[in-house]
Amino acid sequence: MRTLEQTTQEVISLAAQHFQLAAGTLAPEDDFFKKLGIDSLQTLEMLSHIENHFGIELPDYEVQGVSDFKTLAERIQSRL
């Protein structure tokens, strides 16, 4: 079982990979809309990528209002 820290790091790595950035430039508390310069649609695309990696389904309502990697990782962690 992953720890929350591990999940957070994996989420950051996946986001960095998806948007072709260095993972080291992203931090758990970062606002991904601002940091990645993405809109809500691009966020949904990133979520699909993350879902495939973890093998889970994140309903849209679970990620409603989430804008930082750490909170996103918490929502994922609760479904692992």
Binding site: D39, L41, S48, Y61, G65
Partner: protein, 570 residues
């Protein structure tokens, strides 16, 4: 289609639709690749009537208000019908608001009943505000797990009454819905929409974009939004058409839905339309040179043949693969909620997929103008719909002035706010706050805003006043949020931004600490509500006798500044 001129209310018309089209499919609900529900109009009625009965038995009476906070799904529409059947007033709220904003609007609306989904209810219970919204006495929660703590709510699925239900009639001038066009942070703007508003708008819209049994509308925009309420519920239902709901809006599932359900119409916000354009363009660009040449030649032929009017049959044959990706039966994409750039509209039209570009606002009952495609024009928002009187107030020499509207679709006013109503509706004309002109063909061209607000590409109306609450107790002398276009007007509806204007205390510096504080508060706002820069002004803000900021005067002072240097990025 039902003859809506015969009806007094939404509920009465919907009641007859359920009889008239009993065997037609009215709703399909899918979650990712799984179809969860397929209901005929008869099934819909059987689901709705026990709910209506239970509502009535619980003391819900004609004129009482009930709020829905749900994602797009069958239970949204079933619940709404039950409310209308019982003579109630529907308060549809955007599920994307924060729980605090929900409680604020629930309180303002005076709703006695709330119907919501379990995950939303969980978040509402965790937030402050429930005690203040004591008017909400009954809460119904859908899809709650068996062992869930409902915190005083009842299960929607078990809230059932038995026996004969009594339809509660309403009159055309009675309020049907209270729709919030904005105002979550400051002054709520609850538009009181009458039954007549919806009946008239439905007749006008379906005269140009008709529905009939067999038409399938993909409902993506939230149903609380005026557009989806009309073209994703009331319009198709009064014509016996089918509404398709998706429980997730991931782009890959939305794309799959088009061919899977042979979608006829869909409504999108400009952001999604542009994203579709980007995806398609990338695919065209990736074609090998030979195929690319053939594609361009076919595109050229299609453009020539559809210059005067859409010819869907020809376009579908010429550009078969493109149309098959959309299911092969897509007639029109309806775009709304915000301004759409002409090149995006042209892109889709050239492919043989007309985009119904229009202009409207909640206060006017959805659409005011719409492009009738006779011929297609990418540079305008079309002509006024039947029944709409539109005039330009105080036009400048180039014909540009404030757009105003008079029609049976214009709201009765803002709930509990006669002052704001008086400013918005002057002598029977709704002042839109948008600037525009009519061209010689009678098409409306929009060219900016007169009012201090922005509309995002996601179709969100943002009023600066609504954001200021997040900056209360900011350690500065005073502050104010503005739309950049309001300070430095430009003849454009795109790239709108919000700015924070600060007046620091004497001797105070714009320190890193202050910048960090502002950034932290800004980041707590929903992404589309964030501002993009700060302006420092070293003088007192002009204020009224009651100490309210005179925004128009302050904007004039700021306008003297050079906007290329005055805005400090965060």
């Amino acid at each position: 289609m039902l003859d809506l001129s015969k009806y007094q209310s939404i509920g009465e018309a919907l009641k007859d639709s359920l009889e008239e089209f009993a065997n037609e499919v009215c709703l399909i609900e899918a979650d990712r690749e799984r179809e969860k529900e397929r209901l005929t109009y008869r099934d819909f009625k059987e689901r709705a009537q026990p709910l209506a009965k239970a509502l009535q038995e619980s003391g819900f009476s004609p004129g009482d208000r009930a709020s829905i906070i749900m994602t797009n799904q069958s239970k949204w529409l079933i619940t709404a019908y039950s409310i209308f059947f019982s003579g109630g007033v529907l308060v549809p709220l955007d599920y994307k608001l924060t729980p605090e904003e929900h409680w604020q609007l629930l309180k303002h609306s005076g709703a006695s009943v709330l119907i919501t989904e379990h995950p939303i209810w969980r978040q509402l219970c965790a937030a402050a505000g429930r005690a203040a919204a004591a008017n909400v006495r009954t809460v119904l929660v859908t899809e709650a797990p068996a062992n869930a703590d409902l915190a005083g709510a009842k299960r929607w699925e078990e809230f059932r009454g038995e026996g004969e239900q009594v339809f509660k009639p309403r009159q055309r001038k009675d309020t049907a819905c209270i729709v919030y066009s904005s105002g979550t942070g400051g002054r709520p703007k609850g538009c009181m929409m009458t039954h007549e508003n919806y009946l008239e708008q439905c007749v006008a819209l379906t005269s140009i974009y008709p529905f009939w049994p067999g038409v399938r509308y993909l409902s993506i925009l939230p149903t609380n939004h005026a557009i989806d309420f009309m073209v994703g519920f009331f319009g198709p239902f009064t014509c016996g058409a089918t509404v398709v709901h998706l429980r997730t809006l991931r782009p890959e599932y939305v794309r799959e839905a088009f061919p899977k359900y042979k979608i006829t119409y869909v409504s999108l916000v400009p952001l999604v339309l542009k994203n579709l354009q980007k995806g398609l363009q990338a695919r065209f660009d990736a074609l090998p040179a030979g195929k690319r040449r053939i594609f361009n030649a076919l595109l050229g032929i299609n453009k020539a043949l559809t210059k005067g009017r859409p010819r869907p049959g020809i376009s579908r044959r010429l550009l078969k693969q493109v149309h098959e990706a959309f299911g092969g039966e897509l007639r029109t994409i309806i775009v709304g909620g915000a301004f759409t750039e002409p090149q995006t509209l042209q892109f889709f039209y050239d492919l043989g997929i007309p985009v119904a570009n229009g202009y409207g606002l909640t206060e006017a009952g959805t659409a005011i103008t719409v492009n009738d495609l006779k011929p297609f024009r990418a540079d305008t928002v079309g002509k006024p719909l039947p029944g709409m009187e539109v005039r330009i107030v105080n036009p400048a020499p180039d014909g540009v002035g404030e757009v105003s509207v008079r029609s049976k679709t214009v709201m009765a006013g803002y709930l509990n706010d006669p002052e704001l109503t008086g400013e918005a509706i002057v002598g029977g004309w709704l002042m839109t706050g948008d600037l525009g002109r009519f061209d010689e063909a009678g098409h409306l061209q929009l060219s900016g805003r007169k009012k201090n607000m922005i509309v995002t590409e996601e179709g969100k109306n943002i009023y600066p006043e609504d954001i200021e609450a997040a900056f209360e107790s900011l350690p500065v002398k005073e502050f104010c949020v503005f739309a950049a276009n309001y300070i430095w007007p430009k003849r454009s509806m795109v790239g709108e931004k919000l700015l924070l204007v600060l007046h620091l205390e004497q001797g105070q510096q714009f320190s890193d600490q202050l910048r960090a504080d502002i950034n932290a508060r800004n980041n707590r706002l929903l992404n589309y509500k964030r501002f993009h820069g700060v302006i420092l002004l070293d003088e007192d803000f002009p204020r009224t006798a009651s100490l309210k900021i005179k925004r128009n005067v302050l904007a004039e002072r700021l306008a003297i500044l050079d906007n290329s240097t005055a805005i400090l990025p965060l």
